[in-house]
């Protein structure tokens, strides 16, 4: 168990209560762990203070900024439960719904957003309404992603099973595409983590698709019409692979903005 909160409580008691504003003001001067420990101790000492729920949400936001979702969730749950019906309680509900959406539990997230949409406050009605729309769109994209991923994997397995004898040596299609795969993997190293993952997915997934397609063509040479049809299917698979890579790494909004506004340098 982390002894930091208890230690911070003792320090607070000995040194005098710094107050909510002072703890928040020092966030840039110390680690997030230290800030959260101080705030945790302050909230424990002042559970009835109007800022207590705010303190819990503040700590959750620090944990989310550090990608520590498992530490953020209990804080939001406590805000939503202990301060239910208050402004910070609703922030807790929204935060939990956002975490549910991020982990693809869209039904639970949309139910919570609808709860916010039904509140009398214009702010929460607007936030809830926009969040319901956004989560619904994300849910649809995720379902399409699942279907396309299954189709892509199934297609590769089907082709590989029908062309086992032609899998090695690798077909020329893969050999010819090797420099492109290589430069994509190298370029991925300079990108942010989620973009790097998407680029690697497209590079390696594309190589796998080429391998399966090439092996199938070697093992069962098609007629001209079938070759055309396979080419169209191949293009569709490439588009599906790109879609899956973008959606799986939460890059949809960034992708849409880049397509409409161009690249930033």
């Amino acid at each position: 168990m982390n002894a930091l909160p208890l230690f911070a409580l003792l320090v607070l008691t000995a040194a005098g209560d710094p107050g909510f504003d002072q703890i928040v003001g020092k966030v840039g001067e110390q680690s997030h762990d230290a800030s959260c420990a101080q705030m945790q101790a302050w909230v424990q000492a002042h559970p009835q203070d109007p800022n207590a729920g705010r303190g819990l949400v503040w700590m959750a936001e620090l944990r989310l900024a550090d990608h520590q979702l498992q530490l953020a969730r209990p804080l939001l749950e406590r805000a939503a439960h202990d301060y239910a019906g208050t402004e910070w309680g609703w922030h807790g509900v929204k935060g939990l719904a956002d975490l549910d959406a991020a982990s693809h539990h869209y039904d639970a997230a949309i139910a919570a957003y609808r709860q916010l949409e039904a509140l009398p406050s214009p702010y929460w009605r607007y936030v809830g309404k926009m969040a319901v729309i956004s989560a619904g769109e994300e849910q649809l994209r995720f379902r399409i992603y699942l279907v396309l991923t299954a189709a892509l994997v199934g297609g590769v397995v089907f082709r590989a099973s029908r062309a086992r004898s032609a899998l090695w040596p690798p077909p020329e299609e893969l050999t010819y595409a090797l420099p492109v795969v290589l430069v994509m993997l190298v370029a991925a190293m300079a990108q942010p983590p989620e973009e790097a993952r998407a680029v690697v997915t497209v590079a390696l997934g594309g190589a796998l698709l080429l391998w399966a397609h090439g092996a199938q063509l070697r093992a069962h040479p098609p007629s001209t019409l079938s070759r055309l049809l396979l080419g169209v299917i191949g293009l569709g698979e490439a588009a599906a692979l790109l879609y899956c890579a973008v959606v799986a790494n939460d890059l949809w909004m960034k992708f849409a903005e880049t397509v409409s506004n161009g690249a930033e340098r």
């Binding site: 420099p179 492109v180 370029a187 190293m189």
Partner: protein
């Protein structure tokens, strides 16, 4: 009359081997052009207003990357050429022909990929004029 020395490719393969070397030069050139554009790479920059060269990952002011990027790509292409010539020195005609085909496809694919990268980067770029340097007198 063929050369009896075992470490030299037959005459019919030598021309193809030279062509393959040039194709791999193109591959190396375009590979480094793409990588140096997409990954922060130390380059030689020319600062035209200051009339000096500088070396670094990013320029500090108005600068041209063309010379540095060209030199880098040329050097990498040169290395690819030399390596391919060494590898194909004793290859037969069929192997040289395959190498030529591979080099040409790789160069073509990388040309399309690198051109696509530059179209993507430059499509939406809006150039803006920087202030003229102090003391500048138009001719």
């Amino acid at each position: 009359m063929s050369d009896p020395r075992p470490d030299i490719a037959p005459p019919e393969a030598q021309g193809v081997a030279r062509a393959a070397g040039l194709a791999f030069f193109g591959t190396g050139y375009l590979l480094s052009y793409f990588v140096s554009t997409s990954v922060p790479t130390p380059l030689l920059w020319y600062y035209p207003l200051e009339r000096r060269f500088g070396f670094g990952v990013r320029a500090t002011g108005l600068a041209m990357d063309f010379y540095g990027r060209f030199l880098l790509a040329f050097a990498v292409g040169g290395v690819a050429l030399l390596v391919s010539r060494a590898v194909l020195a004793r290859a037969d005609a069929a192997r040289c022909a395959r190498a030529l085909r591979l080099g040409m496809v790789w160069s073509g694919v990388l040309l399309a990929f690198t051109a696509g990268l530059y179209v993507y980067l430059l499509w939406a770029r809006t150039p803006f004029a920087i202030p003229l340097p102090a003391g500048y007198t138009p001719r």
